[in-house]
Symmetry: C2
Subunit: 204 residues, 2 copies
Amino acid sequence: MSVPVRLLLADDEHLIRGALAALLSLEDDLLVVAEAASGPEALAMARAHEPDVAVLDLQMPGADGVRVATSLRTELPGCRVLIVTGHGRPGHLKRALAAGVRGFVPKTVSAQRLAEIIRTVHAGNRYVDPELAADAISAGDSPLTAREAEVLELAADGAPVAEIAERAALSPGTVRNYLSSAVTKLGAENRHAAVRLARERGWV
Amino acid sequence: MSVPVRLLLADDEHLIRGALAALLSLEDDLLVVAEAASGPEALAMARAHEPDVAVLDLQMPGADGVRVATSLRTELPGCRVLIVTGHGRPGHLKRALAAGVRGFVPKTVSAQRLAEIIRTVHAGNRYVDPELAADAISAGDSPLTAREAEVLELAADGAPVAEIAERAALSPGTVRNYLSSAVTKLGAENRHAAVRLARERGWV
DNA sequence: CGCTCGGCATGACAAATGTCAGAGCCGGTC
DNA sequence: GACCGGCTCTGACATTTGTCATGCCGAGCG
């Protein structure tokens, strides 16, 4: 291990990021070369420092971890991405994997464990937290079509049908049909419960 | 500073808790004597170790930081409580202060800053993050009556009126009246938007 | 004591929503 | 070419909501 693994850390919580940087620096084969507090900043830092592994929080202002990962995939193909998250929803894991992310772990792991996982990812292997993987498998795929998901998302903040229709450039009747079918597919009581369910499963 | 400040750290995210413990231990006047990953565990640890300052995450399984603080207030009056939170809602701050919490800070502060704040709190002073305080003041008090808030809370998961009525032991008509008045008071489009608003302001 | 306010309820009406049947268009697949 | 599934729309209907007027009761207050 003569050449250390160069890391980018991105998390909007300064406390966590700083603490993490300090802990990971204790490992002598790991080197934190850049830190960022938002999605765009993470991208800029990655371009500037070209790290070996990017450790990204899933929830960040600007652009979430998965979006950053997508951009990195094309801009810096050599940079492996590891996503760290507080509350992992099954759908997020799926989206992350589709975006070429190499690792996905909850924040409940210890720093020691995280260091090992970073090495695993750097070596070209993948690592997914077993519990999250189990959740993702049991939750299965989203039964929603693209439009249904889109409309459901627009319905998320409690907007009336008319507003959703306008924002989606659809007729109100169509919106109601999509919502109805989404609600049926999810087995929910009404659209709002459906939104909640889809959220929980990471389908929106 | 011959006698160090004895700390209890409680956060369900092992990564953060461990990292924090490591960083705070670097300060030679601070000593982490206990750690916990949940509300009940935090209480048990506090009883066992009687720390000078308890640093609690707001969101924890079992019982949130404010509830733990309430219990500590009576059981260990000498133990100061400092709440740390990811996304601080105005209402939470108010509830926390009412529970006798001495400090309230977002996770965006640096560890250095946190250490200073721990000393401030230990010295018997209070510390509230200026930005959160400003939010709380501008958000003001909840205009909702106890019943309105209760009904709104039951409406949170998208349940129909009939179910809310049953769970609150009220007539459906009354429930609709309360919801209606809550929606009006909050200036929302409908009950679901009202729930969202009330959530954002920490009024539920 | 009378007033006001909050809690609780009913009934009635208008508006929004959920549900269903049908129908045309497109891009795949067998 | 026939068939299927997803996307889009319309129209009609039942149900659920939001809103309002109105009433009763009890607690607190001037």
